[in-house]
């Protein structure tokens, strides 16, 4: 039979752990949502609302604009040849020259931006936690900002479903904590 003192101890323990572990759990939730967003945008090229982003530009510019910007020596050489012939290429063509997908748009060229994408800050709040995600370095931050401005929407905005998933995970952790079922998050 559960003793009253055990129950009291358990409640004390729950409250204590709640305060101590909430930030950690929120950070986990943030990492979860970063992973979900990255997977959605990079793999499926979908916005938070489930739409597609704008297509890669087909506007042709002088090839020398892309000189030295390829991912490989081969693509750089191809661009160099086009520049010598004074040909024009679009960004979409440039991606194709670099053996990258041309549709849907996934904002990935070198992958630096997505590698720098992560949890920036976690705060406890009255109702739960506030998680701030974005570029963890200046380069990634600038790229996310620039791409979001181009798209006229945040490219790292979480979808409703993604929020539900991480919120549910956090709630599950809370319930397990209260019910004494640990390590089941």
């Amino acid at each position: 039979m559960t003793k009253l003192s055990d129950l009291q101890n358990r409640i004390d323990n729950v409250i204590r752990r709640l305060d101590a572990e909430l930030e950690v759990q929120a950070a986990k939730a943030g990492q979860d949502i970063v992973a979900l967003i990255t997977n959605r945008v990079v793999q499926r090229g979908e916005t938070a609302e489930g739409d597609k982003f704008t297509p890669y530009s087909t506007t042709e510019v002088p090839a020398f604009f892309f000189l030295g910007r390829g991912r490989t020596t081969g693509s750089d050489n191809a661009i160099k040849q086009k520049a010598q012939k004074k040909e024009k290429v679009s960004y979409k063509d440039f991606r194709a020259l670099n053996n990258l997908n041309t549709t849907p748009k996934n904002f990935e060229f070198t992958g630096e931006m997505w590698r720098g994408f992560g949890v920036i800050e976690v705060q406890k709040t009255a109702s739960g936690a506030l998680v701030v995600i974005g570029g963890r370095n200046t380069d990634s931050e600038n790229r996310i900002k620039w791409n979001s401005e181009q798209e006229k929407q945040s490219i790292i905005k979480p979808s409703k479903k993604e929020l539900e998933i991480v919120t549910a995970n956090l709630s599950r952790w809370l319930n397990n904590l209260i019910n004494g079922r640990e390590n089941r998050t």
Partner: protein, 902 residues
């Protein structure tokens, strides 16, 4: 760029609840400690009681059976008490009372069994020791806390539901205590203890499960209640909209479209409300089913479940009714709209019929009065009205017949009306036929009149055509007269061009013949046209015209001049030239174009070459003259040196006369050579100038082609022989040009010109340009000078003597002119022979002139200089500025516009 994500897990409320629970547990713990103190005391009492019970049981073995029966009765009573205890959701006071009554019941049981007071005491202690006792304390504490706050009511309710479930479990377990009690009564305390242990063991988990399920169900009821409240608010709002929509749907002043839309909206709102009610009823039913499952023994639960099922069924029925009534309302409005539409269509049809009737009347009215259509329309209208009256009566009788049988009189009337209709139609046809016949007659009369007018017009037209034929004939005659006039001009031209009398006579003969033939042809064409215009019936005129035509034709045959071929008109000179050279007709245009291009190219090339040669020659002359001038300068310098050496020698100083004389000789030799080269350059320049003259001739020849073309075109207007004459005239023209050119070239060879002469002043005298001018050829060695207006030729000898001066004048080189003047008018004359010899008189050896001579020469020199300056001041300078000339004189300038060449 970052995203802020709020992870809301209602942490604050969880934390608060946990803390509240902790507080309550602390309170409960305090009370529980007190209870446990009692329990320790009670446990000691139990031990003591066990001994007492053992003793009593041993002493009352005989009463065991009765005790067993009593136990059965007691069990029943306890079970009844437990059943009462099982009811959840009672008031808190009832719950507390319920707990207190439990022991009273048990006490009553003790009373019933009499001898078992000790046993009941043991039971009471067991109860106290059991979770039930503990629970009672906890419940009392929790209830005491939560009921202090209104906000805790829901929580209490959930807790109480859980407690109720817990109590149920406890009671079930408590029943197991019954067997423990029996064993106690049997004295088998080991078994009794095991039973107690079995009753208590595992009760914690079961209590938690039961409490959780019950609490969850209560929470479900509460959520249902909350949702119901929210839905009530939403339903109120929707009902307001529903009322508005219904008002619009019922408002007959609104359009059907709007009413149907409103009815659809109302139906939708009602459906939504019914759906919501049905959802709530379904949820309530599900919850009550669960409640019943948890409280199967409860009549209240069963009643609630039954009520929920009724409400669910009612909600379903209500929803179906709502759907049906909504559809009915919409259908009703649509039906109403359809009837309205039908009514309006009928009205529109009536309006159209009325309009057609009006239109029929107006159509009759707008027909021109007295026209056939008007007359027919009037007849048709008259009979249509009458027939309409009859048909109306027939229809009326038919309507009467459709409602009941007609009597004999009515049947007869209907037949009469029908007969009248037939008769009216027959009359209508007859009357229309009469009208048509009448108008046909009128039309025939009009047609006759029209035919007469046409005939008159035709005759008038023929007369006009005759007049036109005669006008054409007169015009042709005028042309022939004009050609005769042109021919006379042509003859004059031939004469002036030097054509022979025989050639002129031949031309006149040919022309007379051609003119005569043209006149006959004109007359023939006129007669033939008049014949074509003459009526076939007018045989006399036809015969007369035919005879006239035959006569003219006979005369034409007598002349035997071939008629011009079609298409000969308009051929030009170059074309004819090409044909005469054997160029095929299809290549004539190419030939003409080539000729013109070749001409342009040749002239252009010749111009360029000649200009270049002339310029080169001019430059060569200029260079030679410069060289000559330089030689003269050297001679002058050498002369000055020689003079100075002579002066030095004369003064007795050392001198270099011999060398000076040698340098002078060399300089003079160079001057002679330079003069020879200048002469050669002048000869070359003259050749270039001659080439220029030849080129001008070519250009004139080119212009001659143009002139010839114009002449050809001019003669081509002369009928029949115009082209032949044109070619002949061009031939004569070109021949005359060539002859004139030959004369001109011959004239240039004349020393003083054929008609002009060079005066003492060097100015040429002779006829003007209009009169042929004065062709000049300058002899070698002569100086030729012109200022745009005048030409001056300096004789060969004078040129030879004063060439330097002439060149200076020509170059407007005043210092050089002064130099020559000095030479001519004085200066110190050198006498080399004298200078080389010392004076024989032993005097100074001066060879100076006398003062008188010197004064004379100086005077002459001054006079000459003055005249020269005066001449220079009066001299006009003319500058060719292209389109105009600028004439400068005494510092004033005038602009003289050139006359444009035609």
């Amino acid at each position: 760029m970052a995203e802020k994500i709020e992870l809301d897990v209602d942490l604050a409320s969880v934390r608060d609840e946990l803390k509240q629970m902790q507080t309550e547990l602390q309170k409960t713990g305090a009370e529980g400690t007190a209870v446990f103190k009692d329990l320790v005391t009670d446990a000691q009492a139990i031990a003591k009681a066990q001994r007492e019970v053992t003793e009593e049981i041993e002493q009352t073995t005989a009463a065991t059976k009765r005790a067993d029966q009593a136990t059965g009765s007691f069990g029943s009573r306890v079970k009844a008490a437990i059943l009462d205890f099982n009811v959840a959701g009672k008031s808190l006071a009832e719950w507390g009372q319920q707990g207190r009554n439990l022991l009273s019941f048990l006490g009553a049981g003790e009373g019933a069994v009499g001898r078992f007071g000790g046993a009941f005491k043991v039971l009471g202690n067991i109860i106290k020791l059991s979770p039930l006792g503990l629970l009672a304390g906890v419940i009392a504490a929790l209830i005491g806390y939560f009921t202090r706050f209104q906000s805790g009511i829901d929580k209490v309710s959930q807790v109480m539901s859980g407690v109720s479930a817990v109590v149920n479990v406890l009671i079930e377990r408590f029943l197991k205590l019954g067997s423990a009690l029996v064993n106690v009564f049997k004295g088998d305390f080991v078994a009794a203890a095991n039973d107690v242990k079995g009753a208590v063991g595992g009760i914690g988990d079961e209590l938690v499960r039961a409490a959780t399920e019950a609490a969850a169900l209560e929470k479900r009821f509460q959520e249902l209640r909350d949702a119901s409240r929210t839905a009530s608010v939403e339903a109120s709002r929707l009902k307001i909209e529903l009322e508005k929509a219904k008002q619009i749907a019922d408002d007959t002043n609104q359009s059907y479209y709007r009413r149907i839309a409103a009815a659809q909206k109302a139906a939708e709102i009602e459906r939504k409300l019914a759906d919501t009610a049905l959802d709530f009823a379904a949820e309530r039913l599900a919850a009550e089913q669960e409640y019943f499952a948890q409280n199967k023994e409860s009549g209240d639960a069963r009643d609630r479940l039954a009520q929920a099922e009724i409400e669910f069924s009612n909600a379903q029925i209500e929803r179906n009714n709502v759907l049906f009534s909504g559809e009915q309302a919409i259908k009703s409005i649509r039906k109403e709209a359809a009837e309205e539409s039908k009514k309006r269509a009928a009205e529109a049809k009536k309006e159209r019929d009325d309009l057609l009737k009006d239109l029929e009347k107006l159509r009759v009215a707008v027909q021109p009065p007295g026209s056939e259509d008007r007359a027919v329309a009037e007849v048709e209208k008259k009979y249509a009205d009458l027939i309409a009256v009859a048909e109306k009566n027939v229809a009326k009788l038919n309507e009467i017949g459709s409602k009941g049988a007609l009597n004999q009189e009515q049947i007869a009337q209907r037949e009469e009306f029908k007969n009248i209709i037939v008769a009216l139609k027959q009359q209508e046809l007859e009357e229309i036929a009469n009208v048509l016949t009448e108008f046909t007659q009128k039309e025939l009369e009009l047609e006759d009149a029209r035919q007469r007018e046409v005939e008159a017009k035709r005759r008038k037209d023929i007369e006009g055509q005759r007049q036109a034929v005669e006008d054409i004939r007169d015009i042709e005659e005028s042309k022939i007269a004009l050609a005769e006039q042109e021919f006379q001009n042509y003859i004059k031209f031939l004469r002036s061009s030097g054509a022979s009398k025989e050639q002129i006579a031949e031309q006149e003969l040919e022309f007379d013949k051609a003119i005569k033939q043209r006149r006959l042809q004109n007359a023939l064409e006129t007669q033939e046209k008049l014949l074509a215009l003459t009526d076939a019936g007018d045989t006399a005129t036809i015969e007369k015209l035919k005879n006239s035509i035959l006569k003219i034709k006979a005369e034409l045959e007598g002349l035997a001049i071939p008629e011009p071929k079609q298409g000969d008109k308009g051929k030009d000179f170059l074309g004819e030239l090409g044909r005469s050279l054997g160029v095929s007709e299809e290549n004539i245009d190419t030939f003409k174009k080539g000729m013109l291009e070749a001409k342009d190219f040749t002239i252009s090339t010749l111009k360029e070459i000649t200009a270049a040669r002339t310029e080169a020659a001019r430059a060569a002359v200029q260079a030679a003259e410069d060289e000559l001038m330089a030689s003269k300068e050297k001679v002058d310098s050498a002369e000055d040196d020689l003079d100075r050496e002579l002066e030095l020698a004369k003064l007795g100083f050392a001198s270099d006369v011999t060398n000076a004389q040698e340098r002078l000789r060399v300089a003079e030799e160079e001057e002679k050579q330079a003069a020879a080269r200048r002469e050669k350059a002048i000869q070359d320049q003259k050749k270039a100038q001659r080439t220029q003259i030849l080129l001008d001739s070519v250009l004139q020849a080119s212009n001659m082609i143009t002139a010839a073309t114009n002449v050809y075109k001019g003669f081509s207007v002369i009928p029949f022989v115009g082209q032949i004459l044109g070619i002949a005239a061009v031939g004569l023209l070109i021949g005359s040009f060539i002859a004139a050119k030959a004369k001109a070239l011959q004239a240039t060879k004349a020393k003083h010109g054929i008609q002009g002469r060079v005066g003492k002043t060097g100015i040429v005298a002779g006829p003007s340009h209009e009169e042929g001018g004065v062709p000049l050829e300058v002899e070698g060695g002569e100086f030729f000078y012109q200022d745009g207006k005048r030409i001056s030729v300096v004789k060969k000898s004078a040129t030879n003597d004063h060439f330097g001066l002439l060149q200076a004048i020509n170059a407007d080189d005043r210092p050089m002119m002064a130099h020559y003047l000095r030479k001519l008018t004085g200066g110190i004359s050198r006498d080399q022979s004298i200078g080389a010899r010392p004076s024989s008189s032993g005097s100074s050896g001066s060879i100076r002139l006398s003062d008188k001579e010197t004064h004379k020469l100086l005077r002459e020199n001054n006079e000459l200089q003055r005249k020269l300056l005066a001449m220079e001041e009066d001299r006009e300078s003319v500058y060719d500025m292209g389109d105009y000339l600028v004439i400068k004189k005494r510092g004033r300038s005038e602009r003289l516009q050139k006359r444009k060449s035609k």
